[in-house]
Amino acid sequence: MTTSLGHSHPAAIFWFFLFVAVTLGITFWAARRTRSTEHFYTAGRSVTGLQNGLALAGDYMSAASFLGIAGLVSLSGFDGLIYSIGFLVGWPVVMFLIAEPLRNLGRYTFADVVAYRLRQVPVRIAAAIGTLAVVTFYLIAQMVGAGNLIKLLFGIPYETAIVIVGIVMMAYVLFGGMLATTWVQIVKAALLISGAFVLAGLVLARFGGNPLALFAAASDRFGAQVLGPGQLVADPLDALSLGLALMFGTAGLPHILMRFYTVPDARTARTSVTYATAFIGVFYLLTFILGFGAMVIVGPDAIKAIDKGGNMAAPLLAEAVGGTGFLGFIAAVAFATILAVVAGLTLSGAAALSHDVWVNVVRGGQAPEREQFVVARVATLLGGVASVALGIVFKGENVAYMVGLAFAIAASANFPALLLSIFWRRFTTRGAQASMIVGTFSALLLIFLSPTIQVSVLGRASAPFPLKNPGLVTIPLSFLVGMLVSLLTPEREASERFAEVQRRVHLGPEAGAE
């Protein structure tokens, strides 16, 4: 099958420039409203539940989940769907345990919540380490993915693609802050979901509108085993470990958590998770159809011929059922997806650097507003330059494991401390510090010793640590260390102020002190 993938097709360029023009227009509009630090980080807390739900979905549905999962399903069938499902089940956890308390307790970062009744400096430093570790690995995965994808989709060189992503993304964040970032996410989420709907519709049109006829065709052509589990999940412990990291990692992703500060109150935070889960769930259900559609209509061999990992399955499918014009649209959507996710990540990294490290550690919480605003933008600039540099440094490296690693660190470093600080009276500064540091570094160490690095990246025969994802060990470890150290280092003020935390969690920020 011939394809126009990899050439700068006019349709792709048209859609891409349209997206960039619209989003830069939004940024210009947002820039005129972004006049304070509060606006820069939280869009003035004026985002509605539906808007934030879409923006959360936009932040969460990366190109990896769109192109990667469709590709995995098209090559190995059912196994790819395990990721679709794993990426969704973290959202109920966010809803039940984190969203509303976070909104009521914090201002800009999740460290605000952990540090609320604890000593600021040690907690902020530990939280910044956890945040920056998650953001860095997630960014590397996105940037390297971006370079490769854009090269495949548009035929432009890897480095040029990385620099374009870096510049456009920085324009959004630097000038438009959270307001522009939110609207870029909304536009991108709407494009991605409608693109997936149209693509799935075009596929199903060939099967009488019946997904089961599509699955049956896949099973007739490639054997009934494509509809059932294959070799991806061979070891139950491995599966549990990855599952735990996906489930609790979502509730520890800094760029997701930050979004809850953009809404006016806890009730709207609740509404936004409801919408987000609906959108993300529908999208992942559509990946069932896109993946099997690509398998049947394009065929695994044609997909592998373009990219071994299968990442081009969805674009190839778009070309097969909708022609080059539609391929251009889907390619531009994939590009937009990367831009939006990278913008969200950069903003949350900048918030950790400027709000947690500069304002609360270096300046002891006393920086004047003007200075905070400037530092926030300098941190954004640093983040943008760093992400371009990381993208170029890691060119050609196998970075597929980095998203899993980011989830593992988020689940082991950020989630336990966040949960304990909201719900456990006896949590202390030393406990929080220990939990976050142990969570970050145990996840890093075990990933390094795991088959993911030792076998897949370094090419050794075996690995000292048996699990591919460290979550099964590091999440309980981080909880245990946090609780043990807290019990060993009682902190009177922290437990006395728990009543205040409880009032604020349930009654809102106005009810804080009494």
Binding site: F96, A224, G243
Partner: protein, 93 residues
Amino acid sequence: MSDKQRALEALARAQWRLALALTGAMMAIFFGFTLLVAWAKPLLTTQVVRGLSLGILLGAIVIVSAWVLIWVYVRWANRHYDRTVASLQEPGR
């Protein structure tokens, strides 16, 4: 301890219990599914009707169950939690 403080603590306990129960339910559903994927491969490959394997059916059910659990929480929060919070926010009680 004031009445208001007692009511707040009761609300906090109720919220925590429900949050924990629903999180536990989501974990049970998801990890149950994961273990079936690891251990019952032939079972999940069997087709319930033509084209629909048990694995795909259960996978879709996991996604739908996440929606259902969220719906249960939101219903409770909108009906009971918000009302109690509003009554506790009233000044002079």
